[in-house]
Amino acid sequence: MTDDITVPIAADADIVVARGEGRTLASRLGFSRTDATLIATAISEIGRNILHHAGAGEVEIGRDADERRVAIVVVARDQGPGISDVQRALEEGYATGSGLGLGLPGSRRLMDEFDIDTKPGHGTTVTMRKWRDRDALEVVREARGRDD
C-alpha cells in the first residue's frame, strides 16, 4: 500500500504529527472535513495511550478498500505492559494512572471498527477503521482506469 505512513511515537509532539498525517490522508481518500476531524481525534487519543502506558511505539496509517467502499486504517503498536482487562479498558471512566478513562471508549465511538490485540507483557496493537461509501462515478472511473 503506497499510502502507508508510519509515525514513531516517543514524545507528545509526535502525537500532533500522527493526527496531522491522519487528517491529510483522510482528506486525500475523500473523507469529509468532519470525518477527518473524527479520525484525527481518535489518532490523538490512541497516540497518547501509547505514550502514557508504553512510553513509545508507532502509529501506522493506511488505506483499505472493497468493491463499494474506501477505508482509512489506523494501527497503533507498542511493546508496553499490555492491557490485562480489555473489557474494562473499554468501559467508560476506567482509568490507569493518567486519570483519563475516556480515550479508548471515546475513540471507538469515533471510528467504524475498533479492535484491540493485547497480552500482559507483550504490548498492545489497536486497529481502527473508518469507511466511506464510494459514489457511482468513482467506481466507473476506477473500472475505466483498469481497462486502459
Binding site: 507528545d12 509532539a13 502525537i15 476531524t37 484525527a40 471515546g106 465511538r109
Partner: protein
C-alpha cells in the same frame, strides 16, 4: 511556540495559533494562572479556533484552566470551537462543563461583562 496572551483591560485573551502538543497545553494553563494574579484579571477568553482537535486531554485541560481561574477569582470563556470539532466532541461524549462557551470574541466579551456585573471592562 507559546500561546500569546493579550491583556485587554480586566480580561486576558489567549489566542491559540496552531495545533498544540500536550505539554504546550499545560504551559498555557500555567501561564494563565500566573497572569491572573499578576494582572488581577477577572475574565479569561481562550480562542480555540485554530485547534485541530479537542480530545479528552484538551477538554480536561480546559476544564482545569477554568477551575484554577475560578479559584483565583476569574471567569473563563472558550470561543471559536469549529463545527467539525464540535461534532467530534459530541460523538466522543466530551463536555466542557462547567466552562462557558461563546461563538466569537464579541459574544465572549459581552458574557464576561455580564458575569463581572460591569465591574470588569475590556478597555
Amino acid at each position: 511556540m507559546p500561546v500569546p496572551i493579550l491583556k485587554q483591560g480586566d480580561y486576558l485573551i489567549a489566542s491559540i495559533q496552531s495545533a498544540l502538543s500536550d505539554s504546550e497545553v499545560l504551559e498555557l494553563r500555567d501561564d494563565l494562572a500566573d497572569r491572573i494574579g499578576r494582572y488581577r484579571s477577572q475574565g479569561i477568553i481562550i480562542d480555540v479556533a485554530a485547534l485541530d482537535v479537542i480530545d479528552s486531554f484538551v477538554a480536561r485541560s480546559l476544564r482545569n484552566i477554568a477551575r484554577t481561574a475560578s479559584l483565583r477569582g476569574a471567569v473563563t470563556v472558550i470561543v471559536g470551537i469549529q463545527p467539525d470539532v464540535a461534532v467530534a466532541m459530541v460523538q466522543f461524549r466530551l463536555n466542557l462543563e462547567p466552562l462557558h462557551t461563546a461563538l466569537d470574541l464579541e459574544e465572549a466579551l459581552a458574557l464576561l461583562d455580564r458575569h463581572t456585573r460591569g465591574q470588569g471592562r475590556a478597555r
